[in-house]
């Protein structure tokens, strides 16, 4: 049995500690927002989760490109691990946004460009996972994953752009076309500290999870190998 590398253990503990600090900063330390009250505190983790989602998908597209250029399996492993984490965090981003929007916009959902783009992005990467599940040959799976990771990532800004044009030409009556219009606020210095600390925390969580996921993948492959040798002997 292979032990967890010491650096990873340390990183996991550090991340946990940092997360507790971030919780404290967000829930107690940051001042209450004057108009929205405590609901505004969702904002810190909401944006941080969205950031990690986008970062994870960017990483997938980049390592996909590297995989296509070099053909080394480990890049593909990073790509899958990153997509899985990205899906979870994008989902957290959408759900926390909904929780915030219910009292502030008085609806769980509006067809705002950012909301729609985040959802379509989520769908693209769920399709990515489904594509991979449908292919047995690991080499081909990696190549197709890389290609779809790149194609999908390129389409996301175009989606955002086109929905944005859509909304500026046709103003919508319910809710707001611009999220800064309803529920906008200026951050105080304390809020900004909590905000940037959340971003930092979530980035750290991303790195930790990615590392754990890669290790898991390695172990899975080792088990697979042992199974094969056990079966053949």
């Amino acid at each position: 049995m292979e032990r967890t590398p010491k650096a990873l253990v340390v990183l996991t503990w550090v991340t946990s500690a940092v997360f507790v600090v971030a919780l404290y900063l967000v829930l107690f330390w940051a001042p209450q927002e004057a108009i929205m009250g405590d609901v505004q505190r969702v904002f810190y983790f909401h944006v941080a989760a969205g950031w990690v989602g986008a970062l994870a998908f960017l990483v997938t597209a980049i390592v996909g490109g590297i995989y296509l250029a070099r053909g080394e399996q480990r890049w593909d492993m990073i790509a899958v691990a990153s997509v899985e984490i990205g899906i979870v965090f994008t989902f957290i981003n959408i759900v926390t946004g909904s929780i915030w929007a219910r009292p502030i916009w008085n609806t769980w959902w509006t067809w705002d460009p950012r909301l729609v783009t985040a959802t379509i992005m989520l769908l693209i990467y769920i399709a990515y996972i489904m594509l991979r599940q449908g292919i047995e040959d690991p080499d081909r799976r990696a190549r197709f994953g890389a290609v779809y990771g790149i194609v999908g990532f390129i389409s996301v800004p175009l989606t955002f752009l086109s929905i944005r044009i859509f909304r500026t030409i046709h103003p919508i009556v319910v809710g707001s076309s611009d999220p800064t219009a309803q529920g906008a606020f200026d951050m105080t210095a304390d809020m900004r500290v909590a905000f940037f600390f959340s971003l930092f925390t979530f980035t750290l969580i991303y790195i930790t999870l990615l590392w754990h996921r890669l290790r898991l993948q390695n172990l899975m492959e080792k088990i697979e190998e042992r199974k094969l040798t056990a079966l053949s002997s």
Partner: protein, 246 residues
């Protein structure tokens, strides 16, 4: 110096003719693949027939689902058209790549001494042809059924731009989907989220032309479509090699 000069000129000339020759060979292999697809289709008439019947059915269903009376019709025509094209298109894309895969034709194509990108462009142009033929039949049919004039140069230009983008991405993703276990199910799931910017722009631009908006309001959509077409043709050109690699 005087001795070197003519030689280098000769070399240059040689390179030029070779580049010219390989470009011509490239175009010829694309044309051959397109021709093969068209000839096979005109003999079997499987693909276009199925796409057409399916498209007609989709329009019929929309008729009942949306109760297309005169007022709603004006507002939703472009949406109905594009949904119809998109659905009928996946049918065609799936089929066109599945034929290659099932009968081992793709391996034959890959063995042929042609550039792999030529295979992509050949298939994409073939698919574009099928799509345009279906659209050319659906448009007058819709015009007659619902008494709207769809034959406006602006609208036809939008349909052309939209179909180019659709087949560019569709051919790329279909050639991945046919190699997967869940292929028929997989294509729309892969294709539609990536297509959304194109479809949205196409619906809006078509709507603009149908309702007689000013060009200033339609232009952003046309620009989005042109950008989409250019970007994805370029991406497909770069990555297609990796999809058919064995």
């Amino acid at each position: 110096m005087s001795e070197i000069h003519p030689t280098s000129e000769l070399v240059e000339q040689k390179i030029e003719t070779r580049a010219d020759g390989s470009l011509r060979a490239y175009l010829r292999s694309i044309a051959a693949i397109v021709w093969k697809d068209l000839a096979a289709e005109f003999r079997s008439r499987e693909l276009i027939g199925a796409m057409l019947v399916f498209a007609a059915l989709v329009i019929l269903i929309f008729n009942f689902a949306l109760e297309l009376d005169i007022r709603t019709r004006e507002a939703v025509t472009s949406g109905v058209l594009w949904v119809t094209f998109a659905f009928a298109g996946t049918l065609g894309l799936n089929r066109s790549m599945a034929i290659e895969k099932d009968r081992g034709c793709l391996d034959g194509l890959l063995l042929a001494p042609v550039d792999r990108n030529a295979i992509y462009f050949g298939k994409a142009i073939g698919n574009l042809f099928f799509m345009l033929i279906v659209e050319a039949i659906i448009l007058p049919m819709y015009s007659v059924l619902y008494n709207v004039n769809l034959f406006q140069p602006g609208l036809i230009f939008v349909i052309l731009l939209g179909s180019i983008g659709y087949t560019a991405v569709g051919t790329l993703l279909a050639s991945m989907a046919v190699q997967a276990r869940t292929r028929d199910m997989l294509l729309p799931i892969l294709l539609f989220p990536v297509l959304i910017p194109l479809l949205l722009a196409a619906v809006k631009a078509s709507n603009g032309f149908l309702l007689g908006f000013e060009m200033a309001e339609i232009m952003p959509w046309i620009n989005v479509m042109i950008a989409y077409d250019v970007i994805f043709i370029a991406v497909a050109f770069m990555v297609f090699d990796f999809i058919v690699e064995e």
